[in-house]
């Protein structure tokens, strides 16, 4: 069967983005037909909801309800997308809020997480392994578990229905991940660079900033995108902590479209497509680092 073997010593080949020779694939004649068939089925199953969503977003409302379904023979329209961005759109504000919340929470997680990761990578700290495990363990539990306590806390602090509240929650959830992933990247940068800079006459922080930081940019970008995607997609906290249509984020705004007596499926599909695009674009831009980040950064210890 098709097994992808990781080339030996890939993990030692250096920082993200360095090219590694692809593993040599042996020519296989037998089984390739079956393989293609299985992959095709797999692809159709995976892509069907996406394609259906895209079609629904582009169909006129009457075509959406047509029986039998019009898969190819419909006249496309951008009306639904126009509605998403119109002034009285129920979801447009959600998108703006999502951008604000995801942006700030990622910023906070990165600004706090990178220096923390650097400290964990460079310094000898008491019970370092235990501390790191504790940080990681905060990711073990599903968000639903803490949503009630957070709700009660936020009620006392008047953070319910505020974007600040969501920013704080998302930053807190992204911080452990940022620390772990960045620690992997920083471990890859030899400490000697910073030591040399300190002997040159720079302070420890200057040494980090001038010498190590430029080498970490790809890693930081990849980590930030991960954090951004998490905050962008997050649904549970958003729906529980925010009921005000002015401050809720896109996922709960889109969910809010479903539930009336008539559901405008065209608008739902167009909103969902609009919602998915930024994530796709970001993931595409940093796809190389995402893979490197997963294999090198997060996993290595």
């Amino acid at each position: 069967m098709a097994t992808h073997i990781q080339p030996e010593g890939l993990a030692d080949k250096g920082i993200a983005g360095e090219t590694v020779d692809p593993p040599v694939r042996r020519e296989r004649k037998f089984g390739s037909g079956v393989e293609i068939l299985l992959l095709t089925i797999f692809m159709v199953v995976m892509l069907f909801p996406v394609i259906w969503m895209l079609e629904t977003a582009l169909k006129e409302t009457k075509d959406i309800y047509a029986v039998p379904a019009k898969v190819f023979s419909f006249s496309p329209t951008l009306d639904h997308f126009q509605n998403v961005f119109s002034s009285d759109s129920p979801v447009f504000k959600g998108f703006v809020n999502s951008v604000i919340v995801a942006g700030f929470s990622t910023l906070i997680a990165t600004v706090l997480g990178v220096p923390a990761a650097w400290a964990y990578s460079r310094f000898t700290l008491k019970a370092k392994k235990d501390q790191l495990f504790f940080i990681l363990s905060t990711r073990f539990m599903p968000p639903v578990v803490v949503v009630i306590p957070v709700f009660l806390m936020f009620r006392d602090l008047s953070l319910l229905d505020t974007r600040l509240g969501l920013v704080l929650v998302y930053a807190a959830f992204n911080l452990p991940f940022t620390i772990w992933m960045m620690k992997g990247f920083i471990d890859e940068v030899p400490a000697e660079y910073e030591e040399a800079a300190m002997l040159d006459g720079f302070s420890r922080f200057e040494a980090f900033w001038r010498v190590t930081m430029p080498l970490l940019i790809p890693g930081i970008a990849a980590t930030a995108v991960f954090a951004l995607i998490f905050s962008w997609n997050e649904f549970v906290f958003s729906i529980f902590l925010i009921t005000d249509p002015d401050t809720r984020t896109a996922p709960s705004a889109i969910a809010g479209l479903i539930g009336g007596t008539t559901i405008d499926w065209g608008l739902v599909a167009a909103s969902a497509m609009t919602f998915a695009v930024p994530v796709l674009v970001f993931a595409f831009l940093v796809r190389k680092h995402l893979v490197a980040g997963v294999t090198l950064g997060a996993v290595r210890r």
Partner: protein
């Protein structure tokens, strides 16, 4: 001569491993001081403690007589060349070299003058716009050296800077470093496990083993008067021949006997008799100061021939002229230069002095 760097009873452990054990060093101002020892002896740790990159567990580091144990690296005014060179990957050679000057916020004009001076000194003018990834090991080594030489520090610390170079370049750079040391007149503290580097460049050598100093002295002193059996066999190639013996009026081993040239021993003293291969000769004039044995192996090396001779069940290596021809199993006598032999106590392994 005043001391540039002093380490007083410095100890340093990494977890269970004791890297340095009450290390004592006194490095004279302006000297080319070499720390010599096998890997794991604590040479690099010593350098890092002096540079301020590691904090000693106990002990003090004095720079020009001032306690600098707690000072951070930037305050110590030391320049260091790393074994890995540690050139900043995102900076050009010129930026790498001028980094210490930018840290001191010198003016652009001053930086340019210094850069020019160093580039000429090291013959690296054509490399200045390259990034480390675009340079060979030898070129990077020069840039790393340039980053140290661009300023006028209290002392230069060098951590095996020539190890990663090929042999030809290493020999060239040895001469070059000696020349630079002379022209600057600054203290050089140089770490190496290569005794040839130590012998050829050093004013003073400290031999390190398992975190303690075994012996300090001029290279010739280390070679001619090793303080103990370990130094004797570590320094010199091929290794010093050591034969078990009993010393009193005579020095007697299994199947051989030599007159005692004046070692201070009382009674029958269990000892090790040491003689270097070049102090043995197969050209025997006086049989009284020679050892009888039979040829075990012959290694012609071009400039000399090493003859392995078995004497009373132990083997010694003799440096013979390249023209020497012996057959294996041949009975030979090896003349001993009694002026240049050593005796080490069998238990303490310390050298026994002559009266």
């Amino acid at each position: 001569m005043s001391s540039a760097i002093v380490a007083e009873g410095v100890s340093k452990s990494f977890g269970e491993v004791e890297a340095l054990k009450h290390l004592e060093l006194d490095i004279p101002d302006g000297s080319f001081f070499v720390l010599l020892g096998p890997s794991g002896a604590g040479k690099t740790t010593t350098l890092r403690v002096i540079a301020g990159l590691e904090k000693p567990d106990t002990g003090r580091v004095l720079l020009n007589g001032i306690d600098a144990t707690g000072a951070n690296p930037a305050e110590r005014d030391l320049a260091m060349v790393f074994q890995s060179y540690a050139l900043y990957p995102k900076q050009t050679a010129a930026q790498n070299i001028t980094s210490p000057l930018r840290a001191r916020k010198l003016s652009k004009a001053d930086i340019d003058t210094q850069l020019k001076r160093v580039a000429e000194l090291l013959h690296i003018e054509e490399l200045l716009n390259r990034y480390p990834a675009q340079m060979s090991g030898g070129q990077m080594q020069r840039i790393a050296l340039g980053r140290a030489l661009v300023r006028d520090p209290r002392a230069f610390l060098m951590d095996e800077p020539l190890t990663n170079l090929d042999l030809k370049l290493r020999v060239e750079m040895r001469t070059e470093l000696t020349r630079i040391h002379r022209s600057l007149g600054r203290t050089f503290l140089y770490v190496t496990n290569d005794q040839v580097e130590a012998m050829s460049m050093a004013d003073q050598v400290a031999v390190l083993r398992q975190g303690t100093v075994q012996q300090v002295g001029k290279p010739t002193e280390i070679y001619d008067r090793p303080a103990n059996r370990w130094v004797a066999s570590f320094v010199g190639s091929p290794r010093m021949n050591l034969l078990q013996c009993t010393a009193n009026g005579k020095i007697e081993g299994e199947g051989w006997s030599l007159p005692n040239p004046g070692f201070g021993v009382q009674g029958d003293h269990k000892a090790l008799f040491g003689v270097r291969s070049e102090d043995l000769s197969l050209d025997v004039r006086d049989e009284a100061v020679s050892l009888a044995g039979k040829v075990y192996a012959v290694e012609p090396l071009g400039d000399r021939t090493l003859v392995d001779v078995e004497i009373g069940g132990q083997r010694v290596i003799i440096k013979a002229p390249p023209t020497a021809s012996y057959t294996i199993g041949e009975q030979v006598r090896a003349a001993v230069d009694m002026e240049r032999v050593h005796l080490f106590d069998a238990e303490s392994e310390q050298a026994i002095a002559r009266r």
